[in-house]
């Protein structure tokens, strides 16, 4: 068991022929992910030369989903085209959409999210490393070599900091159920709370590590959720204790966020909810070992 992705995931890759798309599709296949098709408008009918055999390419997500029975898609297209790729995937009814693309304008993401809220698709990202269920499947770019099957669920707003923590776990022999990088953009798909909810319900996850950073108030909201709803232990690290206060323009941000958004505020909220917060990502492992 795991959350969101497993052996039964049948994955499409939007942008499979691009530089990143090609490299990481092969990495995903090598890890054991069942990549059933690619989508590149204008290249329908061709094949992608995959590590374990050819992967058919389609012009549209709808056609690809019909032909392959795909139940998830991952997006490797540039920021200019990524919103369309997300709309198309949601329109085709794919239950899970992972978007790795960074630099998508916030106002675009507001519209994308508003559209997705009316559909049945779940979005991970954008600007995220994707997710991985050790021993089963990975959707994205988290290095397959640093994970190990087990029972700790990991959810994070950061990319490489996630690798750091997961690698430390694996080196100490502590395996993971699923690791989810939700991405650092202000407007995104799944947030901490939705992922915590999935981990809480997953019988194969025994406890959760949550990695946050300064800015926004997602960690504060997650703390309130944890206090109310989580029976499983949550351990955390918040990056940015040493960050200087930003050169803030205008007053609007301060009025809206008040004192939330700082590392101190987030750590206090999490500790009040019974979450142990490490002062060093290496030490998280000591806390749960």
């Amino acid at each position: 068991m795991s959350i969101l992705v497993d052996k039964n995931t049948r994955l499409l890759v939007q942008g499979i022929t691009g530089r990143e798309g090609t490299f990481h599709t092969n990495q995903m296949i090598a890890f054991g992910t069942n990549v059933v098709g690619g989508v590149v408008p204008g290249k329908g009918g061709q094949n992608f030369d995959g590590e374990k055999g050819p992967v058919p390419i389609f012009d549209t997500v709808r056609k690809a989903a019909e032909e392959t029975g795909a139940n998830a898609t991952i997006i490797f297209v540039p920021a200019k085209f990524a919103p369309d790729a997300m709309y198309e995937a949601a329109d085709a009814g794919l239950p899970l959409i992972v978007c790795l693309t960074e630099h998508i304008p916030v106002l675009e993401m507001i519209s994308v999210r508003a559209y997705l809220d009316q559909r049945d698709s779940r979005l991970i990202g954008p600007n995220c490393p994707g997710l991985i269920t050790p021993g089963e499947a990975k959707l994205g770019i988290i290095p397959g070599s640093i994970v190990k099957p087990g029972h700790v669920g990991v959810v994070s707003r950061s990319g490489t900091l996630t690798y750091e923590v997961v690698y430390a776990l694996t080196q100490r022999g502590i395996g993971q159920s699923t690791c989810v990088g939700i991405g650092g953009d202000p407007i995104k798909g799944l947030d901490f709370i939705e992922v915590l909810e999935l981990f809480e319900a997953d019988p194969d996850t025994s406890e959760v590590i949550m990695i946050g950073e300064i800015g926004g108030n997602a960690e504060e909201k997650a703390a309130a959720y944890i206090a109310q709803n989580m029976t499983k232990r949550v351990t955390s690290f918040i990056a940015g204790r040493s960050a200087p206060p930003g050169r803030r323009m205008g007053h609007a941000g301060a009025i809206v966020e008040g004192k939330s958004g700082t590392a101190e505020g987030k750590i206090a909220a999490l500790e009040a909810a019974g979450v142990q917060v490490a002062d060093n990502p290496d030490r998280i492992v000591d806390m749960i070992a």
Binding site: I110, A114, S145, Y163, R241, S242, P244, I255, D279
Partner: protein, 385 residues
């Protein structure tokens, strides 16, 4: 990217928002000529990308062109919170100020929508108003499909207790500010104060605007508004090279891939008693030449006593980073000690390359931070003795 007041107000005016007449001056003589054109009386305002100009003495009223010239002379060259003033906005004086209001459009992350915020208690202390009397701040969220509707602005106007005869003009200003926000991919448009003039008209006396950096590529005319004089040269060079670099006050330079890991690395340096000299994110998939530029940027700061590299390869490859470090070291003559921690993709190959370069290496982030702090201390005491 933040815009100057004069740039923001010009964009507001394009969306039908009344602003004072005015022009930008780079010399006291220009300020004098502009004041003359405006009829003699004017207000001279420092143009810097930071708040608190008024309290710092960067805004002065002039009753004559002579005085405008003197004011500009006093303000130009002034330092405000680390920013040097090199231009002033010379605006005509408002025909009386009956009341100062506050109006802004921004993104509410929690609601995932643009939000309009208004208050009858505008002016310099708006943050205190929000803190102590939040009931005086009125907000509406805007559905991106609907946009601003007249009932939104009626709700705000009524809440603020705005005189009824101004509701029509207020509606136009709110709609204009939202349109300005949307068409320019702003993350903030703010008018503080929005005044009721002595002639009972609304006017935007000051303006602030931030543009979403991710949207600049589709707004070339806004990208051209970037004020390079306002940016530390190192940060501009970093941006050109596709790096994110922020200079800080400490003396341990750091180079990391990924913003979260970069912050965590700074946190750990501090945890072990050091102070980071910078935040530097080389991003994903950085090439050797970018790494070389990054190292030169770090070493251009004379305060730096040690450098810590923390690279966790995913998209970024350890050998590529190692080659960049070696390239940079071939071009710079430095005796600053360096500690390298490489993990993930091609870390072994990278470490093998660096083995020849006599650099300290570390297996974990904690070990790397401790070694960097120790190397810094050793260098400091070596110099002292």
């Amino acid at each position: 990217m933040n815009l100057h007041e004069f740039q923001a107000k010009r964009l507001f005016a394009e969306h039908g928002i009344p602003i004072p007449r005015g022009e930008v001056a780079y010399t006291p003589g220009e300020a004098r000529r502009i004041a003359q054109d405006l009829g003699g009386k004017a207000v001279v305002k420092a143009q810097v990308l930071i708040g608190g100009r008024g309290k710092a003495g960067g805004i002065k009223v002039a009753q004559s062109p002579d005085e405008a010239e003197a004011n500009a002379k006093a303000i130009l060259g002034m330092h405000i919170k680390g920013f040097t003033v090199n231009k002033v906005l010379v605006d005509s004086l408002a025909p009386g100020i009956k009341q100062e209001l506050y109006l802004a459009v921004l993104i509410d992350r929690g609601q995932r929508r643009p939000m309009i915020m208004a208050s009858a208690a505008g002016g310099m202390d708006i943050e205190e108003v929000a803190d102590k009397t939040p009931e005086k701040i009125h907000t509406v969220h805007i559905d991106p499909v609907l946009g601003v509707r007249s009932y939104h602005t009626t709700y705000l106007a009524k809440g603020m207790g705005l005189p009824r005869e101004l509701w029509g003009d207020f509606n136009k200003i709110v709609s204009g500010l939202y349109e300005c926000f949307k068409t320019n991919d702003a993350s903030l448009t703010e008018i503080n104060p929005l005044i009721i003039t002595g002639e009972d008209k609304l006017m935007a006396l000051d303006g602030k605007m931030s543009i979403d950096d991710n949207a600049l590529s589709r707004h070339p005319q806004l990208a051209e508004m970037r004020d390079f004089e306002e940016e530390p040269p190192t940060e501009a060079e970093a941006r050109e090279a596709g790096l994110t670099f922020i200079q800080l006050d400490g003396n341990i330079g750091c180079m990391v891939n990924g913003a979260g890991l970069a912050m965590a690395t700074m946190d750990i340096i501090k945890l072990y008693g050091g102070e980071p000299a910078n935040f530097l994110d080389i991003g994903g998939g950085a090439r050797a030449d970018q790494v070389a530029t990054a190292l030169k940027l770090i070493l251009s700061d004379p305060k730096v006593e040690a450098v810590l590299f923390n690279i966790f390869g995913g998209i970024t490859r350890g050998d590529e980073v190692a080659r960049g470090i070696l390239t940079a070291l071939g071009q710079i003559d430095t005796d600053v000690p360096m500690v390298v921690r490489l993990a993930g993709t091609n870390a072994k190959e990278g470490l093998a390359l660096l083995a020849e370069a006599d650099m300290m290496t570390a297996a974990t982030l904690s070990e790397a931070a401790q070694k960097a702090v120790a190397a810094k201390s050793a260098r400091e005491s070596g110099r002292a003795s």
